[in-house]
């Protein structure tokens, strides 16, 4: 890493380099693109993991977290800020990392920062009529500014981009669709969008010409809410982001706070967390499988998947006290010790699941109709996946090693052995098979741990009020749909100054347009099922 420091300084002489959790480089906005270009093309930092807007009070900044696709554990942080709070502008990096496209729109939504040369500077989550920028510290959250409006407005059909010309900034508007396009609205209320997502799909007969995805139909302002809550209180939001990976996400936030506050988690809690994480992953993949079958209209398969999932939910409910959302992790460990029946129930569940998997393969994987619909449909090349920052089973289907449980092990993952499932095809079938194979691997992990839960405390003693020392903290965990990350900027208070969640599903939906063009409407549904996104996770 020393080498990189010198290279950066050679390119951008006044960059400030700090050794924190990750190497952190602070640059001026005008040097941002130079540095980004170097890191992207020369140093191989081709993954844009997170892009976070921050209101520092006197300036508006953006924090970029970059990683390498060769080794996901190697990360670098770039920071930049603009002091102009009236008309803040920053250069875009969306031409280098396509993942930045939506992230920059999100920053525009939250802070009003305009990214110069960004192709599509519309609002992402909020409506066009929204006044103010909610995540700025001076935003007054009163409902009288933005009252509830029940009128239906037409959606704008133009994209806006800002180009710097001479001294000024020019606004360019382009039409989203061509005049004669047959545009079908898939969503926001549609059975196959897995929530309230809105695809405006331009069709040529049955063939998809273009998709314009609209989010924000369940934008709940979680990040703003977190700023007003203490760390234990903000935990309950993570369960409700991606409700199918409730446990994993909560685990991630807990770990982040524990690391920052220097809390030692007992070994027993680590193992319990790992087992619960894997059960949750199986649950999540089962839902993914079921919903994909349902999208392709195999209702019976859907019900078989849901049937086997109920067994996991019983385990959760008995130990954690909730079916879908357990609220089981707390800072320092887990809320309660495992239920006496826990071990037996898990042991009973493993053979049932194995049998179930066999059944799924026989019923569905081999089925000629399903195969025809999945093989070669929605091919996501390795380059596309990297450009959009796609992670998780979907990226592993395109041949990218990105399993954080292997790359940057946390909890008890370094004590168990398991395979990282990689496929090269990148089509819907590969994504589908990856999920089923990962269930098998998760079972294998649980088998190794279930008999070896160490004795001891289930939760470390923590102070009544947890304050994090000043600084920035990152934590990344492997969720059911990809890498979930949390970024906490603390100013030493009991509440975070800025908390940001990295959503794996956002990258998936962002990539939908590219990979489903040229397919049929039915393919869009199949691809959506195989990508398996959860909308509240995107919208936060």
């Amino acid at each position: 890493m020393e080498n990189i420091k010198e290279l950066i300084l050679a390119k951008v002489s006044d960059a400030v380099i700090e050794d924190k959790q990750y190497l952190t480089v602070t640059v001026k906005p005008e040097d941002l693109r130079t540095l980004a270009k170097m890191l992207r093309y020369d140093e191989g930092f081709d993954y844009l993991i997170q892009l976070t807007g921050v209101d520092y009070g006197d300036s508006l900044g953006v924090v970029y977290l970059l990683a390498k696709s060769e080794d996901m554990a190697v990360c670098i942080v770039i920071k930049t800020a603009t002091a102009d709070k009236e008309n803040p502008t920053l250069p875009t990096v969306s031409d280098m990392w396509k993942a930045a496209n939506w992230n920059e729109r999100e920053v525009y939504d939250y802070f009003g920062v305009i990214f110069i040369n960004h192709p599509d500077m519309r609002h992402l989550f909020l409506t066009e009529r929204w006044k103010g920028y909610p995540l700025r510290k001076d935003y007054d959250a009163g409902r009288d500014v933005n009252p509830l409006d029940l009128k239906s407005y037409d959606m704008s059909d133009t994209t806006v981009s800002y180009v710097s010309e001479g001294d000024g900034i020019k606004k360019i508007e382009k039409n989203l669709f061509e005049e004669e396009d047959y545009v079908v609205n898939i969503g926001p209320q549609h059975p196959a969008t897995h929530g309230v997502l809105h695809f405006r799909t331009a069709l040529d007969g049955e063939i998809i010409k273009k998709i314009d995805a609209n989010c924000g139909y369940i934008h709940r302002g979680v990040e703003k809410l977190c700023e007003g809550l203490t760390y234990p209180q903000s935990l309950h939001f993570t369960d409700r982001l991606d409700y199918l990976c409730a446990h994993i996400y909560r685990h991630g936030l807990c770990m982040c706070v524990e690391k920052a506050a220097g809390i030692e988690v007992p070994e027993r809690a680590e193992v319990i967390r790992t087992i619960m994480d894997e059960l949750q992953r199986i649950d999540s993949h089962l839902i993914a499988w079921s919903c994909m079958c349902q999208d392709m209209s195999a209702l019976t398969a859907f019900i078989y998947g849901m049937r086997d999932r109920e067994k996991i939910l019983d385990i959760f409910e008995e130990t954690g006290g909730g079916r879908l959302i357990q609220n089981y992790n707390v800072i320092g460990g887990v809320m309660a010790d495992i239920h006496p029946n826990f071990v037996q129930r898990v042991k009973d569940f493993i053979p049932v699941m194995r049998k179930g998997l066999k059944e799924y393969h026989q019923l569905y994987t081999g089925n000629v109709i399903a195969r025809e619909r999945m093989i070669g449909v929605g091919v996501m090349s390795k380059e596309t996946a990297i450009a959009y920052g796609v992670t998780g089973p979907s990226a592993r289907a395109s041949g990218i090693h990105c399993d954080l449980r292997k790359m940057a092990p946390y909890a008890a993952y370094d004590k168990v052995e398991f395979k990282e499932i990689i496929r090269m095809e990148g089509d819907s079938m590969a994504r589908y098979m990856n999920r089923l194979d990962e269930i098998e691997e998760s079972l294998h992990i649980i088998e190794q741990l279930i008999d070896n839960i160490p004795e001891g405390d289930f939760c470390a003693k923590t102070k009544a009020i947890i304050k994090l020392p000043e600084g920035e903290y990152f934590q990344r965990v492997e969720g059911g749909r990809g890498e979930w990350g949390v970024y906490i900027l603390s100013k030493g208070d009991k509440t975070p100054y800025r908390m940001k969640f990295r959503s794996p599903c956002m990258t998936l939906v962002n990539a939908m347009d590219t990979i489903s063009r040229g397919g049929k409407i039915a393919d869009l549904i199949t691809i959506g099922g195989s990508m398996d996104y959860i909308i509240p996770d995107i919208d936060r």
Partner: protein, 160 residues
């Protein structure tokens, strides 16, 4: 010739794969169904786990006494203002310092997220979650409950 061969083979393969699916559903047709018949099984086979959090309750003993000291820690810990503790000052009978006692303990079931922070942080173990789930009502105001019963008192420590 090869293509004709492949054509015929593909038909047989397809039929075989469909037959596999038939086999699974056929077997399932005759296996025992797993449906739990909810309202009928309420008194017999319905299992609700002890730890399941259905609604917050404040246990009262036979003397209509509870353990809440009206300290308000639960109210502070609640992330979204579900709990509201209203206390009042009562003159002590022996003329000593006025004491803070619980007047009303408001709890909004329709807002609760069941995060358990109130119960975990309660110093006097005055509240806990109960596993009842049959709480549907026709009016929203019915969900705003007062947990302490009419005329209830705080349990004296020395009685225990």
């Amino acid at each position: 010739m090869k293509s004709v061969y492949n054509y015929i083979i593909s038909i047989f393969k397809a039929v075989y794969s469909l037959a596999q699916g038939f086999e699974i559903t056929f077997k399932e047709f005759f296996t025992k169904k797993i449906t739990e018949q909810y309202p009928e099984n309420r008194k017999t086979t319905l299992v609700t786990f002890d730890r399941f959090r259905g609604e917050l309750v404040m246990p009262h003993d036979e003397n209509n006494e509870h353990a809440c000291t009206a300290c308000g820690i639960c109210m502070m810990n609640c992330p979204n203002g579900t709990i509201k503790v209203v206390s009042k000052m009562v003159e002590a009978e022996d003329g000593g310092k006025p004491k803070k006692v619980l007047d009303k303990y408001y709890y909004d079931l329709g807002k609760c997220t069941f995060c358990n922070l109130c119960v975990l942080n309660c110093p006097s173990k005055a509240i806990h979650f109960q596993n009842t789930f049959e709480n549907s009502v026709f009016t929203r105001s019915k969900l705003q409950e007062t947990l302490n019963k009419e005329g209830s008192k705080m349990r004296e420590k020395n009685k225990e």
